[in-house]
């Protein structure tokens, strides 16, 4: 009985530490790095990253690429990203605060270099139940333009990436990325 109790304590401690580490430590480190690299007041603002920050944040991208990042915060309402992308290959990806990619679009999928994405947070369980109860009395809002994306968390990153094949085209790619905006609606 005594040995079983200690074994149970060992397993409970191991399980709690394992789950705590896996679920919370990576998110904590991710948030810490993003906060260190982005200005603290830069929420819902699109920023062009320099080569050093690209290297530190994006293991899959080259330092010469054009990368613009918006750290969105949906706690006080939806955010709209108006993208003006350069010609050629590009992707726009939305990540949650845990680094989970929730949305991605490429030039081939978009078929257009200018578009709008509206970010909102997924309703919580209580809101979903309320929504079901009031579904018959509410009017459904229909978006008039662009895509609507629901994110699982209030905070995260929107990333615009455009690889530059030739340095001659870099200024044009930068100008296009700088023409994009990320703002609270």
């Amino acid at each position: 009985m005594g040995r079983f109790f200690w074994l149970l304590m060992f397993c409970a401690a191991a399980l709690a530490t394992h789950a705590g580490y896996v679920l919370f430590y990576p998110s904590y480190e991710f948030d810490k790095r993003i906060t260190a690299l982005m200005a603290p007041t830069a929420n819902n603002t699109l920023a062009l990253l320099d080569a050093r920050k690209i290297v530190q944040l994006f293991p899959a991208y080259a330092a010469s690429d054009v990368v613009a990042v918006c750290r969105y915060d949906l706690s006080s309402g939806p955010v709209r990203i108006t993208a003006r992308m350069p010609r050629g290959y590009w992707t726009m990806s939305i990540y949650s605060d845990r680094g989970e990619q929730v949305y991605s679009i490429t030039d081939a999928q978009a078929g257009n270099n200018s578009f709008t994405v509206e970010l909102t947070q997924e309703p919580g369980l209580l809101a979903q139940v309320k929504g079901i109860l009031h579904a018959e009395t509410e009017t459904e809002a229909i978006g008039t333009a662009g895509w609507k994306v629901q994110t699982p968390e209030a905070r995260g990153l929107a990333v615009i990436w455009a690889p530059v094949a030739d340095p001659l085209f870099r200024d044009a790619a930068v100008a296009a990325a700088l023409g994009s905006t990320c703002e609270k609606i």
């Binding site: 401690a13 530490t17 896996v22 998110s27 993003i34 944040l57 293991p59 290959y89 680094g99």
Partner: protein, 174 residues
């Protein structure tokens, strides 16, 4: 009591670190020195897979990309910053790719599809060295551990029975 809790916490911590490091890393069947680092949120072990990048404060590659890593040369020896290596072979067809030589958490030297000078047969030859070499070159970091990453962005699907082939990496001297 304290011993059981401490030992349990230690075991839980070690297993978590190990699983985050190794889950989502698959060695290529034909070239086991290259491993693919998965990043799909739909992966059955997504907390570990995504945890690897997040724990290093990095954003995972987009879902449309495939990310490969290696830290050994063709003889199986660990890459060293003071040595010279030559990467040769063809890079699988993709809309874009980038080759990064990474040292520590802040150093990375890159070559992309648009910057590469190709051989006549479409293959690539890249010198990895701490000093200038002729042709394509990735500069080694001043010291410390080194690894190489290759990311294929929107790779073309492979034909039936075709195996993914990535370039080899031979040591040329120290």
């Amino acid at each position: 009591m304290i011993f059981a809790l401490t030992a349990g916490a230690g075991a839980g911590w070690i297993s978590a670190v190990s699983m985050i490091e190794n889950h989502g890393l698959t060695a290529l069947a034909a070239q086991p020195l290259w491993s693919e680092r998965h990043s799909a949120a739909s992966d059955p072990v997504a907390p570990y897979v995504l945890g690897y990048f997040a724990a290093q404060g990095q954003v995972p590659p987009p879902g449309t990309s495939r990310h490969f890593v290696r830290n050994r040369d063709d003889e199986g020896n660990t890459l060293r910053a003071e040595c010279r290596y030559v990467l040769t072979g063809k890079i699988p067809k993709a809309r874009n790719w980038s080759l990064n030589l990474v040292g520590g958490s802040t150093y990375a030297n890159s070559l992309t599809a648009g910057q590469m000078i190709y051989e006549a047969d479409g293959s690539v030859r890249v010198g990895l060295a701490p000093y200038p070499v002729a042709g394509n070159r990735l500069t080694m970091p001043p010291s410390g551990s080194v690894h190489l990453t290759l990311t294929l962005h929107d790779p073309l699907p492979l034909a039936d029975g075709e195996a993914l082939q990535l370039p080899g990496l031979a040591k040329a001297g120290c």
